[in-house]
Subunit: 134 residues, 2 copies
């Protein structure tokens, strides 16, 4: 194997994938610290992300690789990949182009618990119909 | 029900717990933005966390409520709870006392992928034997 392939193989060996072969991955904007989203990766998604520097998840609903931004253009460039103490969660420090959320908000975490319940605390920056047209 | 109980019940209704009755929860230091850890919550853990303001998870290995810091003293005070667009992940903005990781590091994400593989990038702030003595 090449050095690059060895490096990815060693990383995959260090990740505790769950019974479904998946690991949760948290995406955080590298410079602001904003938590953008959480999604899942399988071995192939981790390998592709590291190899290309473009974040690729596994879509549990579509049962396929999900190259973030492939249809919307809102890609995530990988800046740094971290593994937690148990090896069962990844933290992706990324540079997010545009918005992470399919609703057109920067982060998927845009509802906060307030006295009267969940309230929307972030605005739509890009209308969803512009994210997913035609 | 009281207003407080109503608020918690409405929150729980808005969370998409998985088939095991759990939801992943990301803990982030509220002022620095540091991602500290990811763990799981069931309905009871979410309700207790909101009611008390002290973060309580569900330990999948011990199959019991896990009041963060109960044995180590390294508690997490809840500052803000956010729910993502799909309702299937929580973001807890917390004030972490001391260290979040059982290894004595501030964050559980202390291994970063570098050219030569995973490298430890954070130091031990509290020796683990001081976290879990007697």
């Amino acid at each position: 194997m090449t050095a690059a392939a060895d490096r990815i193989a060693a990383l995959l060996d260090g990740i505790a994938f769950d019974d479904a072969g998946l690991v949760p991955a948290i995406a955080q904007q590298h410079d602001t610290g904003e938590v953008l989203m959480m999604a899942w990766m399988n071995r192939e998604a981790v390998a592709e992300t590291v190899a290309t520097g473009r974040v690729c998840y596994w879509s549990r609903s579509r049962r396929s690789l999900w190259r973030k931004g492939e249809s919307s253009g809102q890609v995530q460039h990988l800046v740094e990949l971290l593994v937690d103490c148990d090896g069962d969660t990844l933290l992706l420090r990324v540079d997010q182009t545009g918005v992470a959320c399919h609703t057109g908000r920067r982060s998927c975490f845009f509802r906060a618990l307030r006295e009267d319940g969940l309230e929307t605390v972030a605005e739509v920056l890009v209308p969803p119909e512009r994210l997913y047209r035609g």
